[in-house]
């Protein structure tokens, strides 16, 4: 028995070069105007404007008048349907909408494609305009598609600056370069601030005394971060408030050498410094803080 697939073939039905059609004066006028990037409608005896123009009024069957009027080019979407997977014969090769578009000045709607980018951009009432082909030949496809009106722009914002750290931070970074954390002690409030500062944020007095604090401390609170950050080695990473021994204010730093889920409040940590030869005037001298292994500290409220 012969199987079906053995005797199956492909064949093509085609008019090579396309089928020649005359347009008549009404459709011909529309297509001629289209070639010049204009859209016209034709007036019916009762003064309605048909777009695209037809030779006879579809309601009465009467011949239309010889009066052509320019319409659009903007219009309003009346109905639409989204095409997620365009076919090879469709006007666009990316997702688009078919729409019935009422051009300004028309009494009927035109069928065409709308390049809206995304389905959510489509709605009845959407204002659209034609996107013309550069090479126009007098065909409905001289309008490549319609595109939504401009209702939004993207504004690039970019300015360049030269920044310096200021006196206090420069002094603190000098300490970091040398492998120590420098703090400021307010004599009035008897408070030790890390990083070093030159005035007390509580009383406003100038801070005269510079003090060195330990590079060990206690985690007071922390966050596990799941979004990558160029300053962190991997995801997830832990950023924590660390109250250095001898300081009264915590400092923000990364916590490492420990799985994120093991990090806890009260955990004792120590700064992991880069080798002395690699240190610069930067916070990157501290890779992160790592657990010391000491018992957890009691946290005051």
């Amino acid at each position: 028995m012969t199987t079906e697939s053995e005797l199956s073939a492909t064949y093509v039905l085609e008019f090579p070069g396309g089928y020649t059609r005359t347009t008549g004066p009404v459709i011909g006028r529309f297509l001629t105007e289209l070639r010049d990037a204009r859209i016209v409608g034709v007036r019916t005896a009762d003064q309605r404007t048909l777009v695209p123009p037809l030779e006879y009024d579809p309601h009465t069957g009467d011949p239309v008048t010889e009066e052509f009027v320019q319409v659009g080019p903007a219009g309003t979407v009346a109905e639409w349907v989204w095409v997620q997977a365009p076919r090879k014969n469709h006007p666009l090769d990316r997702p688009f909408a078919w729409a019935l578009i009422k051009l300004d000045g028309a009494d009927t709607t035109l069928v065409h494609a709308v390049d809206a980018g995304h389905k959510k951009a489509m709605r009845p009432g959407l204002r659209v305009r034609p996107r013309w082909r550069a090479e126009r030949i007098g065909q409905i496809t001289d309008i490549e598609c319609f595109v939504p009106d401009v209702t939004m722009i993207v504004s690039p914002v970019r300015a360049e600056y030269t920044i310096t750290p200021g006196r206090a931070l420069t002094r603190f970074l000098e300490g970091v370069r040398d492998g120590v954390f420098l703090a400021g002690h307010c004599a009035t409030c008897d408070k030790v601030y890390v990083p070093y500062r030159i005035s007390c944020p509580e009383c406003g007095s100038l801070i005269a005394a510079e003090r060195q604090v330990s590079d060990t401390g206690t985690i007071t609170t922390f966050a596990i971060n799941n979004l990558p950050d160029p300053r962190a080695p991997q995801v997830p990473f832990v950023s924590a408030y660390i109250l250095l021994d001898g300081a009264d204010t915590p400092m923000i730093a990364l916590v490492g050498d420990v799985p994120a889920h093991e990090v806890r409040q009260g955990m004792r940590v120590r700064a992991v410094w880069l080798p002395e030869s690699e240190r610069t005037l930067a916070m990157t001298n501290i890779k992160w803080f790592a657990p010391t292994g000491e018992p957890d500290a009691e946290l005051e409220n």
């Binding site: 079906e4 064949y11 039905l13 089928y19 059609r21 347009t23 459709i27 297509l31 048909l50 777009v51 695209p52 037809l54 579809p58 009346a78 109905e79 639409w80 349907v81 989204w82 095409v83 076919r87 014969n89 469709h90 006007p91 078919w98 729409a99 019935l100 009927t108 709607t109 035109l110 069928v111 065409h112 494609a113 065909q139 409905i140 496809t141």
Partner: protein, 333 residues
């Protein structure tokens, strides 16, 4: 008007794939079946509906004549439309009074090409066809214009497929799922035939299905020139065919998309208790060019077998229900 009745109907067991038969081979058993059911070998008039673009063969209706035998020469005609419109032509021919019987058939194989794009070829060549507007796309615009409730449409698909599974001629389609939502009629190969008799000839049949009204109306082709949310041409044809003059037990509607059912139901003014598409309708089997004729056949069959007293059949042609035919079948004149 001269009385005309349907006395025989037959259809293929439709397939969702090319079963390896040519169109004449598909048609021949169906012709044989209506000949047997009607007891007629020759007919006063023969009319068919088919579309050359489906199989891509020119004059496919001519080769189809081989399946009925056209010698000695017969009086024959053809419409490049659904067979339902061939039935209309046969009904008109029978009104002339000089012939008393007619054979009508329709056939189509949609498995051979891409039906969605073949349907682009029916569109006007200036404004629509160059856009590549395919069948699903223009139906989508109508669904959007109608704004039908999704749950209502899902229920239509579920009902149609369940009824189709109970119909030995329709496809055996499962309950719809998200991937296979069934809102579009399936690709189907098939054929159908009907025998009409008129005048005195009707008295030879104990239970004929009288065509008490038949009419078709068409509206503008261009989609932007009409209100797609409703079907005025169906409503006008229904009035002309007298749908509202009596109860309607059953209605067979040519719904190739689920959203067409509420549009047609409203246009036909069908009462709530009318059973819609008990055969499963086109959503369960859509042998294009026979689908509309099958609606008339299914509606008539219910009158012939006594399960309905008055039934309505609808057939359509063109994009977005452009052209609609409505027939009323009844057990009595």
């Amino acid at each position: 008007m001269r009385e005309v009745a349907i006395v025989a109907f037959a259809q293929t067991v439709h397939t969702d794939h090319d079963a390896g038969l040519t169109e004449p081979e598909l048609l021949q058993p169906v012709i044989e079946e209506v000949r047997a059911k009607s007891g007629l070998r020759r007919f006063g008039f023969t009319c068919s509906g088919s579309c050359d673009y489906l199989a891509g063969a020119p004059f496919s209706f001519v080769s189809a004549l081989d399946s009925l035998g056209a010698w000695p020469p017969i009086s024959e005609s053809h419409v490049e439309m659904d067979g339902a419109f061939a039935l209309y032509e046969a009904w008109v021919r029978l009104q002339h009074g000089d012939v008393d019987s007619a054979l009508v058939y329709g056939f189509g194989k949609t498995s051979m090409s891409d039906l969605r794009e073949i349907m682009t070829l029916q569109l006007d060549p200036y404004y629509l066809a160059p856009l590549g507007l395919d069948q699903i796309s223009f139906a989508g615009l109508q669904a959007s214009a109608r704004g039908a409730d999704r749950a209502e449409l899902d229920a239509i698909v579920r009902r149609s497929r369940a009824d189709g599974r109970a119909n030995p001629y329709a496809l055996n389609l499962p309950d719809p799922t998200e991937e296979d939502d069934g809102h579009v009629a399936p690709i189907t190969d098939g054929a159908a035939a009907i025998v009409l008799v008129a005048g005195e000839e009707i008295t030879k049949y104990p239970r004929p299905a009288y065509i008490t009204g038949i009419a078709h109306r068409i509206e503008p082709h261009y989609l932007g020139m009409r209100n797609l949310a409703q079907s005025t041409s169906t409503a006008d044809a229904a009035t002309a065919a007298g749908v509202g003059k009596g109860p309607v037990d059953v209605a067979e509607l040519h719904t190739q998309f689920s959203h067409e059912e509420p549009i047609l139901r409203e246009a036909l003014g069908l009462p709530e208790d009318t059973v819609i598409n008990p055969s499963g309708g086109p959503l369960a089997a859509n042998p294009v060019m026979a689908t509309g004729l099958i609606r008339i056949g299914e509606a008539a069959q219910r009158v012939l077998d006594g399960t309905a007293r008055r039934a309505v059949a609808h057939a359509t042609s063109g994009p977005c229900l452009q052209h609609n035919l409505v027939a009323v079948l009844s057990s009595e004149v």
